[in-house]
Symmetry: C2
Subunit: 412 residues, 2 copies
Amino acid sequence: MRGEIIAIGNELTSGRIVNTTSGFAAQQLFEAGFDIYAMHTIGDTPALIGEALKRALKRVDFVLVTGGLGPTDDDLTTEAVSEALNRPTMPNLEILSLIRKHLDNHTDQPASSLDKLAWLPEGAETLHPQAKMSGFQLIHGGKPVFFLPGIPHQMRTLLVEQVLPRLATWYEGKQLTSAQRVYKIFGKSESEINHQIEQLVLGDDVTIGYYPVFPDVHLSLIIRAENKALVELRAAETFYSVEESLKSEIYARNQQSMASVVGNLLTRQNKSFSVAESCTGGLISYMITSVAGSSSYYLGGVTSYANSIKTEYLGVKNSLLERVGAVSAEVAEKMATGIREKSGADISLSVTGIAGPGGGSTEKPIGTVFICLASTAKTEVQRFRFSGNRYEIQHIAAQTALNLVRQHLLTK
Amino acid sequence: MRGEIIAIGNELTSGRIVNTTSGFAAQQLFEAGFDIYAMHTIGDTPALIGEALKRALKRVDFVLVTGGLGPTDDDLTTEAVSEALNRPTMPNLEILSLIRKHLDNHTDQPASSLDKLAWLPEGAETLHPQAKMSGFQLIHGGKPVFFLPGIPHQMRTLLVEQVLPRLATWYEGKQLTSAQRVYKIFGKSESEINHQIEQLVLGDDVTIGYYPVFPDVHLSLIIRAENKALVELRAAETFYSVEESLKSEIYARNQQSMASVVGNLLTRQNKSFSVAESCTGGLISYMITSVAGSSSYYLGGVTSYANSIKTEYLGVKNSLLERVGAVSAEVAEKMATGIREKSGADISLSVTGIAGPGGGSTEKPIGTVFICLASTAKTEVQRFRFSGNRYEIQHIAAQTALNLVRQHLLTK
């Protein structure tokens, strides 16, 4: 069973907003066993919206349309659909009263501006049980068409809670069975991984994809077969041989992140952690604390941008800063041991470097970064030379630093 | 003059990777005066690639294709194009030698895996002068078609340095003239802003868009006319009346961010800044340091996740923590004054709260956040109750905190 996704909005075709909703929908639908034939992005132009919808209805089994359902004047999807499918809009009085009741409590915006949300094409069924979000379903020519708001969190909620269960019931038993796994690898190129995987014999039922996803490479494996038992067997065999080949070069699977993997290792080994950052400016700290539950192993960190903070908070001596400069192995070492002593952490990390665009020199060009890991067992500094712009250097440095912690915890 | 964008890759139709390249291309092309008729995303399937390309060539003036040009086995674009447009691929010996020369110096990957990159459809002209990146141009039926790699930074480089100048020369003088401005607003809803803008009379040549872009709302204004002088006049009039209406509710324009706006104000007023974060975990610090040149006003910060860090680094007394808890007005105040005294900054900010999913209580539910701003003039704490998941609460709290600094600096 396959579908198409149509995202609507001038903000998307003029490139002002990155379309994240279509990708999310594709992922959820793919995991539920549906294929996406194509995804389209078009402007808020009624004729284009109608044309894209009619073409999709001819060739796929269901259509998902996102965006253009809002209360403002530039939201034209409902009108366009009404016109294209010959279904006049009419006010749904129940929705109208629900909208007024629910939204007026939460905002001081004029209620009349929201009335538009209650005008739906003939035959439309609203998706949210209490109509707290726009979004409706039509059955047209025997095929379900879903219209969801473009606001990411509303779209996600309605997709997961309403669209997926409805589609599963509608097309029950018609999906191919599949298993997918994504391995995340840091520090190797697409070609190197391709070369290594080519040595394995994985079989024709395995679709392999290599994707550079800054700063990582993702290796995707999809196994498809006619029945569930066969898929499970082939998936187990395939995943085993890939994991045996790449071993700890794989740092994470599927939705895991570098920070969540490091967090799991710290938890399992009952170790506490702290960070002193200069050029990464708080990024490592934020990566760690974006993981729920990180307060059980993360004590905290210092972003020492000014030298005075390095001195005051990390005990880096002024004389050392003057002699070797803030971007040096010696200062990196003092930052890591300083934060470790003051915070009382088992393991500490420090990063100091030049992220650019200013501050580079012949001796220490932009991208020069020193990373130090300090633990009970050892204190080790490494010098790196990363390339890219400020954003890229900050992110590669942060990922490299956390990967050093991961490797350290794995070899213990 | 209008074009279509076709993005290719199973990683996109299965939703594993968010397609950011199409949006970037749309934005750049839009700003250069071209319209995007539609954007499509399809899998690595030769038949689909050929069909989409041929359909686009029938209805628009140029086509941009991204992805599927890499060296790995799942990259099928070149082959598909060759088939669809009847242009056999042939090896370009000059590119072959350039690829080998340039890439072998930078990687230990097998050279043979890269040979594929030198096989191009008949008539193709490579885009990168030294062939350091994949990407080529074809003229088909009198219309330019550009093929770019899917790797974002390569795609961006080739688009800006090669595609835009070539398109501008090709279609010289045929673009409509336009001006666009985006205003970023934080803390008001789409409908509220719509209501306010409706009071103005902006004219039919102005296209207005309202877009919730978490955590902001973006207001987009596009003015189009037949000649440049008229566009400039109408743009000046329109922007003036919108800015007069919304005043300081607009926090930024176009590419500016909350952190860059705060940075500009600090620079202009010659003030230094530091931050103590708990629930935002380093996010505010990272937002500030993502701005180039931030070292001139940002001294640094402390992420005090554990109470011991609040005590050691910020001088928050244990007795206070025991009496009122870490999430409280009193601790927020002590964190802000503590970091301000120790760092010697003119202005300091602190944030302490409960981002969830754990840690909430009846008295202090998830989303409860205290923000304190301390300056020479005053120390002021505010209590907030944000809604959303961990990610959303962290980002709304960070944006709210920086917006308080902005407002403080504006009223001085």
